[in-house]
């Protein structure tokens, strides 16, 4: 039922899905196409356990953990250019993607920083690529997506080229508003991949990918009651380049050297109505060299080990100097041992050590195991530690908002230096206790545990039950550390928070007939801030009742972390005939989530403001012809659900049509 697909992300090496010991989901190209999906966000929003977030681009929340804590990889190499911790997943076009692998649970033992909640790896393998494919999609709001994908494959060369153009007029779902909730965007994506087999045992691979995004922007800022609207362009570019040399010494031993360079540049050049310029720049450069060796010691034992070095840097106008790149270098080593002492049992243990130049080191262990009880039942257990290194902004930010009352935010490295200077200048009024706690930031870390039971009673049914728990420590939070003489606040970053997420996930598939398949997913999620819970239990947190009078807050009122829904449900019905006709309908439900603290305490409780739970229904129908042409019609958000404030990325009902041509590979 599950098939035995190959997974590369779970073990950093190709493994059969049935031999993987951690929770993994695979989304293949066919599923992506049938959804009519064009950007990565389109796919992820329909996956169990994942929730899209808005604000600073579209991010993804994995099992209750914010977008900051999931690493996004393309062919194993990380994407950079996060704003406030969020990597905008709309940057990623899907036309040449072979599959997407999602690993849930801390994976820092293999991938280092950011792989705290999990890993999303997008794979665009040139092997088995289609010789020529062209597609055109047109939809509501003048949304155009055109892509061409071509490949040349022979005995020693695999080449794949991909070109994508996307544009949308954007939309406004806020009545009587001149500003669009989603602004007009044009994006180009180009991807070139070449793999050359030097010999039977040696190959060289080169890959280049670039995206160029222009957003026509309109920002309204209320300042002292005056609304200032700025127009202008936001221009974001992203380039990734990697080279790898892979050599197989024998059937048992292979090694690969990889070099990777990626640069993200985000620039906003706006002009306010009153003529004042608004400017923002973020440039993130990430370079890495890495070696990995896979050694199959014997039938029962596999060893993977490697190491590398990263040099990265960020330039921003929000740091003390825009010209000077703030840098950090990291050296790391990792090892993973896989053992299958019996046919039923697989045990995998891994460790990784990351030594950083600008902040404390991180040590990430993980152990996982799977045990096959019988042909129908399998148990998987994993426990590991993940971490996220402090952001550059958390270390180097040097930002004073002259407009909004003159408050300042300083990164941890800047804070002490700058505040000392300000004190000498007589500008600081009060130092808070938190000022004396300022220190070199430590990575945030999380201990994650996953217990999975896979049940496959026959070849028509598959059910997977999962329990998960993540305990997060050293959370980096913004705290007031001082006040100016004027009373304006001075903030910096401290490792202060502790939180948890835990829950249940169920995924199931049922094949009714040869042509009809149902699949469903459910996630129950509980989250909480541990310090807040202690305060509530100690009777130190208050809330307001309907009259506006204070009362003590109880644990029954507490709802945990904001932006988390307790219930998420996905249901999909898929029809696929031999004649090439396909149709599907997908239901995605998310229960209410807290968005704003409105009742005068710092915790989220039932008295606060929530976004309403909602259902979105998406559907598509299409036909693939034998001559390589295919057509597809679809509609997303058919119920026309709109919440302009909390779901700015969700337009009302949209329609689209896709026409596609594939040159069928006759060799297959």
């Amino acid at each position: 039922m599950q098939g035995d697909s190959v997974v590369v992300t779970a073990n950093r090496s190709e493994r059969k899905l049935s031999n993987v010991t951690v929770p993994v989901s695979i989304i293949n190209a066919k599923q992506i196409q049938e959804m009519g999906a064009i950007r990565l966000t389109d796919v992820l929003k329909e996956q169990p356990g994942l929730t899209l977030t808005s604000g600073f681009g579209a991010g993804v929340q994995l099992q209750g953990l914010n977008p900051d804590y999931t690493i996004i990889l393309i062919n194993g190499e990380p994407l950079v250019g996060r704003t406030a911790g969020v990597l905008d997943l709309n940057r990623i076009a899907l036309g040449n993607i072979k599959k997407i692998e999602i690993v849930k649970g801390p994976s820092s033992s293999l991938y280092g920083s950011e792989a705290m909640a999990g890993v999303i790896n997008i794979i665009t393998d040139a092997v088995n690529a289609i010789p020529l494919q062209a597609s055109l999609r047109y939809g509501t709001y003048q949304t155009i997506d055109a892509g061409v994908n071509h490949s040349i494959v022979n005995k020693s060369i695999f080449y794949q080229g991909y070109y994508n153009y996307y544009s949308t007029d954007g939309f406004s779902i806020r009545p009587n508003s001149t500003s669009r909730t989603t602004t007009p965007i044009t994006r180009f994506t180009i991807n070139q991949q070449l793999k050359y087999n030097v010999s039977d045992n040696t190959n060289i691979a080169i890959s280049f990918r670039a995206t160029d995004e222009k957003v026509k922007n309109e920002i309204s800022v209320v300042n002292g009651g005056a609304t200032i609207t700025s127009f202008g362009y936001e221009h974001n570019t992203d380039q990734n380049f990697n080279v790898s040399l892979n050599h197989r010494f024998s059937n048992k031993l292979k090694t690969s050297f990889r070099g990777y360079r990626t640069e993200y540049n985000g620039r906003q050049d706006l002009l306010t109505v009153s003529g004042l310029p608004y400017y923002d720049l973020l440039n993130h450069l990430f370079q890495r060299v890495e070696n990995q060796t896979d050694w199959n010691i014997n039938k029962q034992t596999n060893l993977i080990f490697g190491g590398g070095t990263v040099l990265e840097g960020v330039k921003s106008n929000r740091y003390d100097s825009e010209q000077v790149r703030k840098t950090n270098s990291t050296g790391y080593g990792f090892a993973q041992l896989e053992m299958n002492p019996s046919k039923k049992l697989i045990v995998v243990g891994g460790i990784r050590f990351d030594k950083n130049e600008t902040f404390a080191s991180a040590f990430s262990p993980k152990i996982s195991a799977s045990y096959k009880l019988n042909d129908y039942n399998k148990l998987k257990f994993s426990i590991g530690q993940g971490f996220k290194a402090p952001d550059f902004r958390q270390i180097y930010l040097d930002f004073t908002n002259a407009a909004a009352g003159g408050y300042s935010v300083f990164g941890s490295a800047q804070a002490q230096k700058v505040i000392a200077q300000l004190m000498t200048a007589g500008q600081v009024g009060t130092l808070y206790d938190t000022y004396y706690q300022l220190n070199d930031l430590k990575p945030e870390y999380s201990n994650g545990m996953h217990l999975t039971w896979d049940y496959e009673p026959n070849n028509k049914t598959f059910v997977s039950f999962q329990l998960f728990r993540n305990d997060i420590n050293n959370l980096i939070q913004v705290q007031q550390v001082a006040a100016y003489v004027t009373g304006a606040q001075v903030f910096s970053y401290l490792n202060v928070g502790r939180a948890f997420t835990q829950g249940v996930e169920i995924e199931s598939k049922y094949k009714l007939t040869q042509n009809i398949m149902f699949s469903g997913g459910y996630q129950f999620l509980l989250t909480g801030d541990k310090d807040q819970i202690e305060q509530i239990k100690a009777g130190k947190v208050y809330t307001k009742d309907a009259n506006g009078y204070s009362r003590l807050l109880t644990m029954n009122d507490y709802v945990g972390l904001p932006n988390n829904s307790k219930h998420r449900v996905q249901f999909k019905c898929n029809y696929n005939s031999q004649s090439g006709l396909f149709a599907n309908i997908r239901f995605i439900y998310r229960s209410r989530w807290a968005v704003n603290n409105t009742n005068g305490n710092e915790v989220f409780d039932n008295g606060d403001e929530f976004a309403k739970g909602y259902l979105s229904v998406n559907s598509a129908i299409g036909k693939e012809y034998k001559n390589g042409f295919s057509i597809q019609l679809g509609s997303d958000n058919m119920g026309n659900y709109i919440d302009a404030v909390n779901l700015p990325n969700l337009p009302g009902r949209t329609y689209y049509a896709i026409i596609k041509y594939q040159l069928i590979n006759k060799n297959k």
Partner: protein, 214 residues
């Protein structure tokens, strides 16, 4: 005799009404009742500039707790007022603000639970611009200001313990900063957020006998 019956009746009515109000135990009778004061303007926005900036008169609204009434600005140099409001600022008739014997501090706890002002409490006085009896600024005194939503929300579990201009005691819980006594929803228009702000609704209990018991 007749008078004492009257007194007894008054007492009964008082205690019954108190019991009805507070639903607390009937063994102690609270000698003061809390009153709810609605929509005291505090330098409200009179108009918007052509650029859309709010324009106000920049004047305090003076208020007598004893009389439960607004005091004219011409009486600002007297002891007729106890506290005064201007936007999120609340001053007391003390120190640099007035000639009275006023003062205040912010008590963390529940309004009803504060039955006696603790003996070791320190009443602060206004010392402009460095400090005020009721600290100014978001999260410091009675309110929180959210820069994203532009809303002012009274902090839960804060009681303003006031010493009046004549040296008596009162306690105040701020209920809302917006006209109508309810904080505006996040989704309210920018115009509403500007023009409906700066209206105080609060409940106040005043002890006229000079003791620190409520």
């Amino acid at each position: 005799m007749k008078k004492s019956i009257q007194n007894l009746a008054m007492c009964l009515i008082c205690s019954v009404s108190m019991w009805a109000c507070t639903k607390s135990s009937t063994t102690t009778v609270m000698p003061v009742t809390a009153v709810r004061v609605n929509d005291i303007p505090a330098d409200t926005v009179v108009r918007l500039s052509p650029q859309g900036a709010p324009i106000t008169n920049g004047k305090y609204t003076f208020y007598s707790i004893e009389k439960n009434a607004i005091v004219p600005n011409t009486d600002s140099a007297t002891t007729k007022w106890d506290i005064a409001f201007m936007s999120t600022r609340i001053i007391t008739n003390s120190g640099t603000s007035g000639i009275g014997q006023g003062g205040a501090f912010v008590y963390v706890g529940l309004f009803d639970a504060l039955t006696t002002i603790p003996a070791d409490s320190v009443f602060r006085t206004d010392n402009a611009p460095a400090s005020f009896a009721i600290p100014m600024g978001s999260g410091k005194g009675w309110y929180n200001y959210d820069g994203l939503t532009n809303l002012v929300t009274p902090l839960a579990g804060r009681v303003l313990v006031i010493r009046t201009a004549s040296g008596k005691y009162a306690k105040i819980e701020i209920i809302s900063y917006y006209k109508g006594g309810v904080t505006l929803p996040v989704t309210a228009s920018d115009m509403d957020k500007l023009t409906k702000q700066r209206y105080y609704t609060f409940r106040v209990a005043y002890q006229p006998n000079g003791t620190k018991k409520f």
